[in-house]
Symmetry: C2
Subunit: 270 residues, 2 copies
DNA sequence: ACCCGTTGTTGCAGATAGCGAAACGACCGT
DNA sequence: ACGGTCGTTTCGCTATCTGCAACAACGGGT
């Protein structure tokens, strides 16, 4: 097949051909690539795109590369294959808000209200944490910025550790490889075995925390959200300046975050 | 500002400039337009895009037009302004699946399982129904195709009427204008006043139906989903070949759909 | 009603920017 | 080590995009 099913220029309501302003070739092709990646269920190698849309590999490469620069596409952990990137997500935020926002955002609101800190939802996207929604406290002088649409590493963030909670050493190795973990601050967990122990602890505690392991000044508490089968599908948590997290004690935050996670998990089971 | 904040070629993890394959200009510009529209909260006129990205009107027009042909952008009811289209939505649904899918899709599964018909979620997007998820029955010889990512009119679909249920005559006039309603089949509701009466009935019954008012052969039953404040935020329903809907009786379908809607509404309140 | 400014749309010709071919290089399996 | 596959880069040609400018469709003011 040539490059994808262009909806044949028909005005849906009337059937008359809409005036034929010719398409911009490279944009059109680029969008075809984007759709192809979106349609695929697994990371897509360049080759596959090439014979899917039927033009030269070099062109496909450059188009895909442009999409990557704008983060419509990304390569999972340095692989050459393509998956959808955060910008693609941002597109949806208007719709996404309608839905996801309407349905779950109030959990973030409540969490932020009771704790006075920025709260987030996150999911695991390949080997990274991906933030899908946030809520920022009103009238708080200093607070952590929202991160919706951003990626963060798994091994040194509370969300990441919450999302990894069910992993054992083998699973972790499979995910992050054998290489030593990227170090961001003096507190960053360096070894995978250590990380595995942390995960075990998260399973016990029901929450994970990050004490400036990723960004020196920022601490975080997060808990896993599970679906009906008990699988971890997302995480909810709060971010705070480390100092404040210490002084006010993380205990209360942990309790509230866990409560929220449980509430959401429960609402999924109904 | 020139056309948007390109993420300056930095490989996030290492800070080294990623190998500088130059971007495809037209694709890059097209994506800039897409992002601009996504970022905006209201329909965007061409002019605005033009001075936002700082190139000639004609180019912007042709780029935007290409985006429209692929339905990344659409013009709300014949206006010249741009909003995000269904394709953009489909992209995000890949993420959306992770979330929304995991969280609510099972309601559709159950509904489809008990009734043996295609089920949908929809939201109101401007003056149209927008389908955000669906589930198709397995092993059913004839069933209605899924419509995720598609638009449909409000006044002659079950979903539309469910979404409008709380509207009175004034509200309806504000939404659809004074013009007579577009007629699709002999059954289509033609007048706004009539529509208002139907809405009142929906409020009483707790569900809406469409007896081939939009597409001759397709019938549909839908019920509104409400958020904590009681506002209608979405709808859930099933589509069926009209004949089957008649013979099997719509009563059972209505009951099940209402039950599902109530369950979701309840899960939002928790 | 007329005009004028603004904004959307189409034609055109020139030049740029995108294209394919081919060379290069990285990687894998045998 | 070698051959094959796939990703990346170079290069020169020309198809394709672009900007200009004319045209058309509004809309608001007088």
């Amino acid at each position: 097949m040539r490059y994808a099913h262009r909806t044949a220029q028909l005005d849906k309501t009337s059937g008359k051909p809409s005036h034929d302003t010719p398409a911009i070739q490279s944009l059109d092709r680029g969008l075809a690539i984007l759709e192809a990646v979106a349609a695929a269920s697994a990371p897509v190698p360049l080759k596959q795109l090439t014979d899917l849309i039927g033009i030269d590999r070099s062109s496909v490469f450059r188009l895909a590369n442009t999409l990557r620069q704008r983060r419509f596409l990304v390569n999972p952990k340095g692989s050459k294959d393509y998956i959808l990137g955060p910008t693609a997500w941002r597109l949806s935020r208007r719709y996404g808000r309608h839905v996801l926002g309407t349905f779950f955002h109030h959990y973030l609101q409540e969490l932020t209200a009771t704790l006075g800190e920025t709260s987030h939802f996150a999911v695991r996207e390949g080997v990274e944490v991906f933030f899908i929604d946030h809520h920022i406290p009103a009238g708080q002088v200093v607070s952590v910025a929202g991160q919706t649409g951003e990626f963060a590493p798994l091994h040194c963030t509370a969300h990441g550790k919450a999302l990894l909670a069910d992993c054992d050493l083998r699973a972790l190795r499979g995910l992050v490889g054998r290489a030593p973990l990227q170090v961001y601050t003096r507190r960053t967990v360096k070894s995978v075995t250590r990380l595995a122990r942390v995960c075990a602890q998260v399973r016990v505690d029901g929450f994970a925390f990050d004490d400036g392991e990723y960004i020196e000044e920022v601490g975080c508490v997060a808990a896993p959200i599970r679906d009906v089968q008990g699988e971890i599908v997302a995480s909810v948590g709060i971010s705070s300046p480390v100092t404040r997290l210490h002084t006010r004690g993380m205990a209360r935050a942990a309790a509230e975050v866990k409560r929220t996670a449980r509430a959401i998990t429960a609402s999924l089971a109904s």
